[in-house]
Amino acid sequence: MEKIQLNVNGVKRSVEVDPNTPLLWVLREHLDLVGTKYGCGIAQCGACTVHINGVATRTCVLPISAVGDSKITTIEGLSKNGDHPVQQAWEEVDVAQCGYCQAGQIMTASAMLANNPRPSDKEISQNMSGHICRCGTYHRIEQAIKLASEKMQNK
């Protein structure tokens, strides 16, 4: 057990855990930030994706000891009022079916758009193919990313 300081969604948080604990479980069970989901535990499905210093990162295999004072952003902290262009687009397009994987999809999409506000179809595909949506909402994910891209440019 070790006392570890984290910077989550702009707030300093302190947890006492085994330093090998993956960030996913610290977020879910120690900090009650359950928007980040457990799907496979082996970095194959992407449900656990958050931003670490702005980079979309799988947290189910990332030990907390490796996070340091990096800035962690989860779905709960993506925007103050749930109005990030990607969140807005996801609602307008009505992407979700069961919704379980969508937080991970949104975190990857928003990190991509922050670096590359006008991604090509191929770039979208490359970025999003690391995620699994069992409901098969991929068509709408693509549509929502394009809508979010438009929204970001009109801002």
């Binding site: 479980w25 969140q87 069961c98 999003m128």
Partner: protein, 711 residues
């Protein structure tokens, strides 16, 4: 559809504590008369009714059925709101908990909810609207016929108006009408439009909606070690080392299971690595190899269960100009719901509190009542949003485990399965092999049709009364079920998820042998079923024909450039009709799925957005499962235990999908399943057109490792 409906004694009325109108169904069809309920004794929360209107005009609609991603939590309230004539933005939807007194058929499965509830939901809205209108008429002392309700207001011809909120209290004191008028479908303002899901706002900011997110003070976590192979039994276990691991509270056993109880999921996962368990019965364990042998043996066996017999198939085969035969096979597949199985249980000596994701909450309640010997009415179940179901959560094994464990450790506990637990514990789509044989006469008419299904714990692996039954004079359908220790269960569009592919691929082959266009060949059969059906029809040939013609028109059947190969399939399941055309091309020499057109007749579409999403998803699932889905066995153990080995379709592997609906005003039917069955067949038939080769086994990549949906 301008019907006057009678009340049938299933409304109850009450005022809310705050003075609004509350209207609930007594869903129990046998229950007594319409009754007034004391406004003070039953408040909003306790009553858990169907619909309530607050004095501020806010409308709360409870959705009784479990939401697994099929969109019911949005679609059902839309139907109520339509007949109530209220602004959708004033509606708040809440998930109702299990309540066997207030609701019936509180389950999700078989795409049956919308058909079951359509009329009931409309009446609920219409009855409330009637009472609000009557309350306004009374207040103004005018005849009701001079009043009209619209968008949350009752208006009088003089221009006076009152909001539903202002009228709610008075309306709650009125008797429910004996008869209510339902809208004509052409006057629908909400039904058939595009609505975003009611959970989206909470979902998109990561609110705790799912069972796996549930937490209460004093709760412990647990995971359960089950036998690694189907057919093995627990012999002994030693939890000494596991118990010493950080965060571990206890190691207990029940049945063939060993549970590790701890303070956090991660600590439990670690402790599982040092848990020592011994299992017995290591002989006679099944493998994919042994299954293939079993399939061959049983396919050759004469004795089978006869499912349907029309005419004389032997005579048809003897006098045939041509005979076509083929065998098709599919493997076991897991459901792969993205939210792993989990459940919360707090079992006391005389009651149990349950929270979690289940498609069949009432079954869970009854089974746990029996298991723990506690009356069902002492067991409460709170429904959570579900991270997918696909049929897996029809089986409550994981809820029962949680309840049993909680009763043993006398502590509230949440059991969370690991992905590996989820994929290895069973309840799979059964492996099935089909044999088809058809005869053609000189004119290319199908004169005989034989189907034999051999399934592994599949029950009846045929659907003997489905098409082509009734369209062929001589028909024989039989099945054999093999009892395997591998547990199986319904998987999205049970049986038909594979049978449809096999049948539609086979009929394509028969059409080819007959020298006929595959669509023309089908239409001839449906014409026969329509004009001279053999036996009693269980499907409507006209609805098939309309969907087929529409998809042919949308896809430009037979009019595409030579490089584009089209494959056709059509299927009727869960009372909806879906016709599809898949298009394939060779891209750099590789057969590639480019597009799928889907035309669906599910009657009236409630929510365009949700409905289209179901079609896209079902087609994607249909492609993914036929192309990649494969769970193999060795020594009784599943070999693909996580997504590094089990392939699920991804973003870069989907073709364009075009979804259309037949607009016929017929009462709505299911949509969660029907669009999946035809997809495999449409692809296989396009592939045959493109390459001249046919797929006989799923997954397709085992027959052609290059075939792809990457566009």
């Amino acid at each position: 559809m301008n019907n006057t409906q009678s009340r049938r004694d299933f409304f109850k009325i009450a005022g809310t504590v705050s003075g609004g109108l509350m209207l609930g169904f007594n869903w129990n069809a046998n229950a007594g008369k319409n009754s007034q309920i004391n406004t003070l004794s039953e408040g909003l929360i306790d009553f858990n009714s169907y619909l309530s209107i607050e004095p501020n005009g806010k409308v709360i609609i409870f959705s009784p059925n479990p939401e697994i991603g099929q969109g019911i939590k949005t679609a059902f309230p839309l139907i109520v709101a339509e007949e109530l004539d209220v602004d959708w933005k004033d509606v708040e939807v809440r998930q109702a908990n299990l309540d066997t007194k207030k609701f019936e058929r509180q389950l999700t499965g078989g795409s049956g909810a919308i058909k079951h509830s359509w009329e009931r939901l409309r009446k609920a809205g219409a009855t409330a609207k009637h009472m609000l209108t009557e309350a306004a008429a009374n207040k103004w002392a005018v005849p009701m016929t001079e009043c009209k309700a619209e968008k949350g207001f009752v208006m009088h011809t003089s221009g006076k108006r009152l909001s539903y909120g202002e009228l709610a209290s008075d309306a709650s004191k009125l008797k429910a009408p004996e008869k209510v008028e339902l809208k004509n479908s052409k006057d629908f303002k909400l039904i058939g439009k595009y609505f975003s899901g009611v959970d989206n706002k909470d979902l998109l900011v990561g609110k705790p909606l799912f069972g796996i997110d549930y937490k209460v003070p004093g709760m412990v976590h647990a995971q359960i070690q089950r036998p690694p192979s189907f057919g093995m039994k627990l012999k002994s276990f030693d939890g000494t080392e596991a118990k010493k691991m950080p965060g571990i509270i206890d190691v207990v056993s029940f049945g063939d299971k060993v549970a590790i109880v701890g303070k956090s999921t991660w600590e439990i996962m670690n402790a599982r690595k040092v848990l020592k368990v011994e299992y017995s019965n290591n002989t006679g364990l099944e493998s994919t190899e042994s299954h293939n042998k079993t399939f061959s043996e049983l396919m050759d066996k004469k004795e089978a269960e006869m499912r349907r017999k029309d005419g004389d198939i032997e005579v048809a085969f003897k006098s045939a100009a041509k005979i076509i035969e083929a065998e098709y096979q599919c493997p076991f597949v897991p459901h792969n719901a993205m939210e792993p199985m989990n459940f919360f249980a707090d079992a006391k000596s005389d009651s149990v509190r349950l929270v979690g994701p289940t498609q069949t909450p009432q079954n869970a309640q009854n089974q746990i009542a029996k298991l723990l010997n506690i009356p069902a009415d002492k067991i409460t179940l709170e429904l959570t949003k579900m991270g997918g179901g696909f049929g897996r959560r029809l089986n409550n094994d994981y809820a029962l485990e949680a309840a049993e464990l909680s009763s043993i450790i006398k502590t509230p506990v949440k059991v969370t399965w690991s992905r590996e637990d989820d994929m290895t514990a069973g309840i799979y789509r059964p492996a099935v092999r089909y044999k088809f044989k058809a005869s053609l006469d000189k004119e290319g008419n199908m004169t005989g049709y034989y189907l034999k299904g051999v399934g592994m714990n599949a029950g009846n692996s045929t659907r003997q009364d489905n098409f082509p039954a009734c369209a062929v004079e001589n028909l024989l359908i039989e099945s054999i079920d093999y009892k395997s220790p591998i547990t199986t269960g319904p998987w999205r569009a049970p049986i038909t998820n594979f049978l449809a592919y096999a049948e539609q691929a086979f009929l394509d082959e028969v059409a080819q042998a007959a020298g006929k266009d595959p669509i023309k060949f089908r239409l001839e059969l449906f014409e026969k079923a329509k004009t001279k059906p053999v036996g009693k029809l269980t499907y409507e040939p006209d609805r098939f024909i309309t969907a087929i013609k529409m998809v042919a028109e949308k896809a430009g059947w037979g009019k595409k450039k030579k490089k584009t190969a089209q494959g056709f399939a059509v299927y009727f399941s869960h009372l909806s009709y879906v016709a599809q055309i898949a298009e394939m091309e060779k891209v750099k020499g590789v057969p590639t799925i480019k597009k799928v057109y889907a035309v669906t007749d599910c009657g009236i579409v409630i929510n365009q957005s949700g409905a289209k999403n179901q079609i896209y998803g079902a087609v994607v699932d249909g492609i993914g499962t036929s192309m990649y889905g494969n769970l193999t066995f060795a020594n009784g153990a599943p070999q693909e235990t996580n997504y590094d080995k089990y392939r699920l379709i991804r973003f870069n592997e989907i073709p364009e999908v075009e979804a259309h609906f037949v607009d016929n005003g017929i009462d709505p039917t299911g949509l969660g399943e029907p669009a999946l069955p035809p997809t495999g067949g449409a692809i296989a038939n396009a592939y045959a057109k493109l390459t001249g080769k046919r797929f006989y086994k799923q997954p397709f990549i085992y027959e052609d490792s290059k075939v792809t949906a990457i566009s």
